[in-house]
Symmetry: C2
Subunit: 466 residues, 2 copies
């Protein structure tokens, strides 16, 4: 299935071994409907971490756990001072989650390690596989907690203090499962950056399946603006109240809900607009609604687009208030800036898929991923593979072994090309090792990990994101 | 305030006594916010019934309780064989109900009795004040239970078997409070019909307040068609799913919701259309809704209009299914035919308001009332008075003493004119006593109460309602 067209392509991952690992990991927290319930920092999470750690040790890796419980399996490189070329994802799941979300990124990374071992390949840069803590956020918020602390999106203390519904804090849960590690969690506190970070993930959307392509070359992640909207009218009896004396909050709200959709379509194909949550008060069959609360989720590839969507929403609100006897309150609740990935790494993923003869296309990530936070501190790219019917966060989440293997093969090639085969000539190595990573490595040699600002190259990378 | 323009007008109700009775009754089940919580067939309901019964006995009435707990206070007429001229309403409330809904109709009736006593007036026909069981339906369904059994809308057994959330049946609750009465509950089982039935009620809507009028001359009750609508699309991640690959159940549903409003406005001022209840699945901020369930409440003054609204809804559903990749299921759940009240009695209410110099207007009842069921078996009319901001079923429900007194005065005059003053000439009496009631009385003399079909006059009345 995987065409061997040049030297790197001759190194093949073991599709069956990857699938078998996925199925074995999925037994921990398996649900009767074929999914997985493995909430972050539960004993099931511990069991899954132990399984991964055993596999990684068997593959010759050393392990490191940081203060937020992120787990790093390291396969040493010929030049240990080079920043690692890393991959990974998460192994916590939604309460009714599937077998592939997150788990695939971690085990595709494991499969890369194992394949390098199979072929006795030494890389110039170290290889690391990351298991980021609590990506899902089902038990503890904020979501993408481990990578968020690493990247400085919020502080370690903020994350450790988060409590679940029973009042158990992240700090206590980490200690309970033995994953309150000794190394710094945040780059700002000295956690090492990566020379490059690749994350393989099921698409969690319908685009690849609809286009019939196997590999999504992820160019970046959509920026997001979330809002809570409250429309207030006057509840009244449905029977006695004539149409012209109503202040129906729901009828007004439906106009705004439609605007959310229309605003996103006006920015197609770069935007999304979704009303996912609606609460109607008093929600009684024969009472005109007096208050409707709903959410708005806007996403766009670039920040100027998000600004236009924000302005359009506020104009729609104003027009609605002018036309109806209702009040509308719009409360912004979340802002994630768009996160374009690193063009050199994106190009490397694209080229690998091309060399392998795999149908591929550029795609944006609409969802959040650990890679989106990692991209704030290190060069990053992602690889998507199709999932059945675009369904994720669901026990029926499914993906084909062939697609999963193809994604892991692309991951292997992109990582290997970036880390550099030590068997290659030193001169060739310069083409392979990401220049950003190399410069970072020189910084690391000349200075211990510090809380100093990003090196100039990373600052430039940061500034690319508006 | 009340202008005396002819003989009946010289008989005035006691506004202060009426208000005082309302406030005293409102103490039973009073809530801290100034409302009343007195659910049907609770001990509070028993206390309220006992208070009314004591007042009625003090006013010289005999009391009768039927098998569904309906309570009738009877002031005998000169001709006891004549069918009673009745009034009343209910004294159960919503969990967060007000002081006036229902209670006003019962106590306005009591005030009529007391005023007749004050003036030593004997009527040809007996006067009865009804306390109908469980009009609200908050604890037991169906709503308007006592009048519904009386009128044959459903069987006594069906009503007695209804259970509340704790599993207590109406049968058990009636026995517990001592109101499982001995007389037949249904007209079909021999419960006497009325010569005429008048019900005074707060409007529970904004029309009278908006027009600045004191008396609503209720010409009938709107027919109702209720539906459950389920729109099924496909839930999906809000981020990864492009706008053109969505099957967003909520966006489709909002179009139907707007149609519900538009369909009613197209029939203005005769119709109402309301979406009061909405359930979105899975109702998560960043998930495109896969299923939306909502209710439709259509009301119209005539059945042909209801049919047009039904057809328009189904056409809108068809158009939506054709245009969107969603399925729509429409399930009718309730149908009440329009219930025009008896023109002679409506005219009598209108004339009384006119003679009293009270600003009045014709109005339809959008809500259900015991009178709507009573109208299926006896000539019926209603009198509305304004309530503050049109608000009812709420602890802040309010009405002015002046308006309540005006409604009771209209009630007194309409009832007195219908029952006939025994002091008047016998010839005059023929003008006063409703001819339908007189014929019914002759039937009653020639035959014991039976389960026989309606007399011809009532059949005709029934047939007026399509």
């Amino acid at each position: 299935m995987l065409a061997a067209v040049d030297a790197p392509t001759s190194v093949h991952i073991d599709a069956q071994r990857l699938w078998s690992s996925l199925m074995t990991l999925a037994e921990i927290g398996a649900t009767p409907k074929g999914g997985v319930c493995r909430l972050a920092l539960t004993d099931l999470d511990r069991q899954a971490r132990e399984l991964f750690a055993r596999w990684a040790r068997e593959a010759g890796c050393t392990l490191r756990v940081d203060a937020i419980g992120n787990l790093f399996a390291r396969r040493e490189g010929r030049e240990p001072a080079l920043p690692a070329v890393a991959t990974g994802s998460h192994i916590d799941t939604q309460p009714t989650g599937g077998k592939f979300d997150g788990n695939y990124g971690v085990l595709a990374g494991l499969e890369v390690l194992r394949t390098l071992n199979d072929h006795g390949i030494e890389t110039w840069a170290p290889i690391e596989v990351c298991v980021w803590t609590n990506e899902e956020g089902s038990r503890f918020v904020p979501v993408m907690m481990g990578s968020g602390v690493w990247a400085g999106a919020f502080t370690l203390e903020h994350a450790l203090s988060a409590a679940d519904r029973e009042g158990t804090t992240v700090r206590a849960a980490l200690q309970a499962i033995g994953y309150a590690g000794p190394t710094p969690a945040a780059v700002a506190d000295g956690a090492p950056r990566f020379g490059a970070y690749f994350e393989a993930h099921i698409e969690q959307g319908p685009v690849l399946e609809a286009s019939g392509r196997t590999i999504g070359v992820v160019t970046g992640a959509l920026g997001q603006r979330w809002y809570d909207v409250i429309v207030t009218g006057q509840e009244a009896h449905a029977g006695p109240t004539p149409m012209d004396l109503r202040r129906d909050a729901l009828q007004a709200a439906t106009q705004l809900m439609q605007q959310v959709d229309a605003i996103a379509r006006a920015e197609a194909p770069h935007a999304r607009g979704t009303v996912g949550y609606v609460d109607v008060f008093p929600n009684s069959r024969n009472t005109i609604p007096g208050r409707v609360t709903f959410t708005v989720d806007f996403r766009h590839t670039d920040d100027a687009g998000l600004h236009r969507m924000d302005a359009a929403l506020r104009a729609a609100v104003q027009a609605l208030e002018d036309a109806h006897a209702v009040q509308v309150a719009v409360q912004p609740v979340v802002y994630f800036p768009p996160a374009p990935f690193t063009p050199e790494l994106v190009a490397r993923v694209r080229a690998a898929a091309g060399r392998l003869g795999l149908p591929h296309q550029d795609i944006v990530s609409g969802a959040g991923h650990d890679a989106v936070y990692v991209a704030r501190q290190s060069p990053t790219a992602m690889i998507f593979v199709p999932c059945k019917d675009g369904i994720s966060h669901n026990e029926i989440e499914d993906a084909s072994p062939e697609h999963l293997a193809a994604g892991a093969q692309v991951l292997l090639q992109a990582m290997l090309e970036t880390a550099g085969r030590a068997a290659d000539e030193p001169a060739a190595r310069l083409h392979h090792v990401l220049h950003l990573g190399r410069r970072r490595a020189r910084d690391a040699v000349s200075a211990a990990p510090s809380t100093s600002p990003c090196p100039p190259q990373l600052e430039r990378h940061q500034q690319q994101r508006p």
